[in-house]
Symmetry: C2
Subunit: 336 residues, 2 copies
């Protein structure tokens, strides 16, 4: 479909984020006309700076909580990639409990409502493996029971439910992607993800590293560029009204192993690890999961890099970026 | 648990509704102190009138969208039965698409947030079989994939997801009940449900009846009193942190059969049926489903009345109520 409908007008919400901006660029390369809508709360204008002069690229700074704006931006759009979300997966006691409700559920409702108002009939939605919670079945297939343990995962599941209903009621073809941890070269806010945490802390003190949890947390990782390739592939090859697919690698990688890899990449040895203890790294953390990616395999696509290779590439890319630009090291792992 | 913790203070949201008011009465009989919170948008003060003088009964008229009110009402509460919801399952083109979002998701978030603020640790939540959408597996077990096709079902699934996350993050023991179509004697707004529709239309014209869809829609029905008994039983016997159970009968009943039963109960014969056509009765209607109730059976509980018997009892009760009080006939089937 994508290969046929060139010049189609697409909207990328969260298109100044680390996945969204790569996606916007990939869509331009495929001859789409691309509008990015981003409030720059976690996205960065630098991520799309090189696209700003492109004749088929449009940037709208605005908030998805503003339905009028979303609706105006939706005029003429033929497909939406809805990636905008609250990127802070961690809930810290004292945080507001309605941040995910606003940024995920209400924002997604506005996207869907604007699509309905403008009869936009195609949607790709960035969901998360966090919808599953702690699954008894590993690796986790798409039909596993969803019992999210984080506000992030819960509200993403709420979004999926809204997408499901809108798809059925208003004839919108939808692809819901349950992402693994997406990693890449783009620099993000410090403290948000494991790779950035480790690099930052080892820069502060190369002799020791505090690791959240017991270090045995093990998760699936996927490179941002592979994530985008996987989305394109699924949109071209999965033709149901509502398509829900896991997007990740078949394996997982332990947190302590990531610490070893970061230390080695920084040329450090003998780093003293301290563990904060507990199964998960923070309240709502799913300590161990592997995604069953056989649905994507059956369609004919699988990731080229496994979790370790993806993390390795991301570490190298972040270190290069940080050295080159002297900007704050922030890690590249996007929300799981 | 319920049998031990007498005098426990419980809050029933939507407690002036057709299930909630029966539940409130049943809780009073079991020696609980009961506060009903209801905005009377679909609930009726008449439903709780006979409880108003009871020393252990308190009625608060108010809206769950008012978080301050919900929080004030939550003070001292030890368990919540959250039944309040938008009862209009049908979406009619032209309707606002955010009604369920407000009345289900935002309202439920407020209940959960107020519980968190007041450290209330037990929650029973009235969900719906509509969360499943059109399931390939019939009868539908609790671990079936959920792909709701209505805004009602979607937002109830969103509520379930929030309950799941709050249960895990804030140590709330929760029971999520996925109700079949609940039927009973209480009179509800006309036009909302199949029994009321049929009685009303046959009163208007005893010679003919318009049936939505093709009449082959077949659903599970459960008496309100059995629904309440089932909830009590599950709360006493299902001891997980998060418990999700179908609550219904193992069978289903066709819409045309309900028409026959209503006509017979009204002493009519030779009624001419006209079908509006289509699989479902309205956009978002799940035309056929049966619930797998083996989880409740394994706990040791099952409904005494099958769907046909439940509907028969409800028809008789509604006709009696309508004749006795001369009030508008509204049917007794609650939201599926």
């Amino acid at each position: 479909m994508l290969s046929i409908l060139v010049n189609m007008k697409v909207l990328v919400t969260g298109g100044a984020g680390c996945i969204g901006s790569d996606l916007a660029e990939a869509l331009l390369l495929r001859n789409f006309e691309v509008t990015v809508l981003d409030n720059l709360s976690s996205g960065k204008i630098q991520h799309v700076e090189k696209l700003l002069g492109h004749s088929r690229f449009h940037f709208v700074q605005g908030d998805l909580l503003d339905l009028d704006l979303v609706s105006r931006t939706m005029a003429g759009v033929e497909m939406v990639y809805h990636l905008a979300a609250n990127p802070d997966v961690k809930f810290t006691p004292g945080d507001a409990t309605d941040k995910d409700l606003q940024q995920n559920i209400l924002a997604t409702y506005h996207v869907l409502e604007a699509m309905r108002l403008h009869a936009v009939k195609r949607l790709a939605f960035a969901s998360t493996s966090a919808v599953y919670g702690i699954s008894e079945v590993q690796p986790i297939p798409e039909n596993a029971i969803c019992r999210p343990i984080s506000l992030y995962g819960a509200t993403k599941l709420g979004c999926e439910a809204l997408v499901s209903a809108f798809s059925s009621l208003f004839e919108i073809q939808s692809w819901i992607f349950r992402f693994a941890n997406i990693v890449g070269a783009k620099v993000r806010k410090r403290g948000r993800t494991v790779i950035s945490d480790f690099i930052q802390r080892l820069r502060d003190d190369p002799s020791r590293l505090t690791i959240l949890g017991n270090g045995r947390q093990a998760k699936s990782y996927l490179l941002a560029e592979e994530c985008i390739a996987g989305m394109f592939y699924a949109i071209e090859h999965a033709g149901e009204r509502l398509n829900i697919v896991n997007l990740g690698c078949a394996d997982s990688l332990r947190v302590t192993r990531i610490a070893d890899m970061v230390a080695a990449a920084m040329g450090l040895s003998g780093v003293d690890y301290t563990y904060t203890g507990g199964e998960g790294g923070w309240p709502g953390d799913v300590p161990r999961f592997m995604l069953d990616v056989s649905a994507m395999s059956l369609l004919g696509w699988q990731a080229r890099c496994n979790s370790e290779r993806a993390v390795e590439i991301a570490i190298q890319a972040i270190l290069r970026t940080a050295e080159a630009s002297q900007i704050e090291v922030g890690g590249a792992a996007c929300k799981p």
